[in-house]
């Protein structure tokens, strides 16, 4: 409901101010990237927006996107458009479009992503550009439904019973069949055994009534590497961040798992928490880059500092608690060794109960007995000291942790 209201608001804002467009990030052919940019500008114009391509030098002073958004707001833009094109296998491209709307005091953001054919004519035929733009602008009226015919896709895999995915979403277990109405579809499958993953994927052109797909699964080491700017951000699960949250890693972070989409949370002191959708491909290693936005709100900074301080306190406490086991173990070990010395001293003492001439050997035995007792006392003293230290550390650690 909120999204509908947001899109309605956005639609009502059209024609009131320019929509700044940043150059699209792309790792595909530059001519195709230019076609994408031009088409997007054209469609936005037809949808009554005023797209203005912004030279990167316009935001030369900015080191992060938060600054660029602020600068765009100062320039009176109604929004800041960003896009990214990533090659997805040989025949397709992953598209992500995003607009930060600058009306009012907050910065609502609309974000869409999808898979499009790499060939431009196929892209046009698929109507994906219109579909994506309607997703972020809310202008559905202009979407041309070029295809509404369902194609049945029948998938078989070797080995069988692999999980089959359509455009990154699990749909069935092979052998199986399902339908889709788009012109292109990415079919992938994976099969997991223990920690090992076998996977395969292909792009299929949908035009006939039925398409048969056979996937020979291969060993896959795919994952998605999360990179951030600045780096060294802590990676958490998607849960709410609190002092009990445990980081699963730091960026750059190589995320492994079953193919599909999952969420993680990125945290770095001085920057907003970022909940990130991470897509793990069945076969290919992905790199996902995240620009962290600095916190400017003093209250948020204060809250974050408090959280970090609490986490640090807890970490130190847990460290002390964990560290207390070392002295405890050493102390107990020393006390046990001390008992060995005392036992040795007792044995010698028992031997010394026999009458003697008071000769050198007898005196050496007495010295040995005294030395064993002295060693035992030393070990007991040090051991007890270490146990005391460990109890002290554990007490402080416990107090700090809980």
């Amino acid at each position: 409901m909120k999204k509908i209201l947001l899109l309605t608001l956005i639609a009502s804002m059209a024609n009131s101010a320019p929509l700044f467009m940043l150059n699209m990030e792309s790792d595909i052919d530059s001519s195709i990237s230019a076609l994408w940019e031009n088409s997007i500008m054209q469609i936005l114009k037809e949808a009554a927006f005023e797209p203005v391509k912004i030279d990167p030098e316009h935001f030369a002073k900015c080191e992060n996107i938060e600054c660029a958004i602020s600068a765009a707001r100062v320039s009176g833009a109604q929004g800041l458009f960003r896009g990214r094109l990533r090659a997805e296998g040989k025949d397709s491209v992953s598209v992500r479009l995003c607009i930060d709307w600058l009306a009012g005091s907050s910065n609502p953001q609309t974000d869409v992503q999808g898979i499009a054919p790499l060939a431009w004519d196929e892209t046009i035929k698929s109507g994906i550009i219109l579909k994506l733009l309607s997703g972020i602008t809310g202008k559905n009226a202009d979407i041309e439904n070029v295809r509404n015919k369902n194609t049945v896709i029948s998938v078989e895999t070797n080995p069988e019973y692999a999980v089959v995915m359509l455009n990154g979403n699990a749909v069935c277990q092979a052998p199986c069949a399902f339908s889709d109405s788009s012109s292109m579809a990415q079919i992938s499958a994976y099969w997991q055994s223990g920690d090992n993953l076998w996977a395969a994927k292909t792009m299929v052109k949908l035009g006939n009534d039925t398409v048969k797909v056979f996937l020979e699964l291969k060993r896959s080491f795919a994952g998605t590497e999360i990179r951030t700017n600045p780096d060294n951000a802590s990676v958490f699960t998607a849960d709410i961040l609190d002092i009990n949250s445990k980081a699963i890693g730091k960026t750059p972070y190589n995320m492994q798992g079953l193919p599909g989409e999952t969420q993680i949370r990125l945290f770095r002191k001085g920057y907003n928490d970022t909940l990130l959708n991470v897509k793990i491909d069945a076969l290919e290693k992905q790199i996902q880059f995240v620009q962290l936005t600095p916190i400017t709100d003093p209250q948020k900074i204060s809250e974050q500092n408090l959280l970090v301080k609490s986490q640090n306190k807890k970490d130190i406490g847990l460290g002390l608690l964990g560290g207390s086991t070392g002295p405890l173990a050493a102390g107990i070990l020393l006390c046990i060794l001390a008992q060995d010395d005392y036992q040795k001293a007792r044995n010698i003492k028992r031997e010394l109960e026999y009458p003697s001439f008071g000769g050198e050997n007898f005196k050496a035995k007495i010295d040995e007995n005294h030395k064993a007792v002295k060693n035992g006392n030393l070990k007991t003293g040090v051991g007890a000291g270490l146990i005391g230290l460990s109890l002290l550390l554990a007490g402080i650690g416990f107090t700090m942790s809980f």
Partner: protein, 213 residues
């Protein structure tokens, strides 16, 4: 939190004191000396003076019961090692080196040694004139000859010849013949004898000569 640890430490340390050996409580074996006795020829009786001493008393004990206290012991008589305390020991006349060696259970040794002198019995062998000699007419003097045996190297022996016509008063001092020669022999019967003596022994031997013997 620290107090229980401190208490435990003190408890353990106090227990450890009982493991420490105090030498003042121990029994000490002392060998005061060794002695010997030779009741008969070639028989040597050896004795040891052993004490078990502690801070309260001193108890004598025999080597026979020392097996409970000692690791080992042995006697050395000259070059012979004797691992027995059984008396008497066989030993010839003369001077002998005797040593008692004790070894305690710790391997320490204690010893004492003495020199044992086994006396040979002093004896006199009268040589001439032979027993019953009576032909005084053919001589104007009689020389008394004898031999003394059994004088040990550490002994100094003295001897005198006594001559008398009365057997009962033979050993009187006035009957000592200074140069062992009687001249001239006028009576028909004489008793003569030799007295030999050392610090330990005194022996006598006598004979009768003359026609009335």
């Amino acid at each position: 939190m620290k107090n229980p640890v401190l208490a435990l430490t003190l408890l353990m340390l106090s227990c450890s004191d009982s493991d420490e050996f105090g030498s003042e409580k121990s029994d000490v074996i002392q060998l005061k000396g060794i002695s010997y006795y030779t009741p008969r020829a070639n028989e040597l009786y050896l004795y040891e003076d052993l004490r078990l001493v502690n801070s309260e008393n001193s108890v004598p004990f025999r080597l026979d019961s020392a097996k409970y206290y000692l690791g080992d012991y042995f006697w050395i008589i000259d070059s012979d090692t004797i691992r027995s305390n059984k008396n008497p020991h066989r030993a010839s006349y003369g001077e002998h080196f005797v040593k008692l060696v004790l070894i305690d259970v710790y391997g320490d040794t204690l010893s004492d040694s003495i020199t044992v002198r086994l006396n040979e019995q002093l004896r006199i062998e009268l040589l001439s004139p032979i027993d019953g000699f009576s032909d005084f007419s053919k001589t104007d003097s009689l020389e008394f000859r004898y031999k003394i045996g059994g004088v040990d190297s550490w002994e100094q022996a003295s001897s005198f010849v006594y001559v008398s016509t009365d057997e009962n008063s033979l050993w009187k001092e006035e009957n000592i013949l200074p140069d062992n020669i009687l001249k001239p022999p006028l009576d028909d019967i004489y008793f003569w004898g030799v007295k030999a003596f050392t610090e330990q022994d005194t022996v006598f031997s006598k004979r009768c000569i003359g026609k009335f013997c």
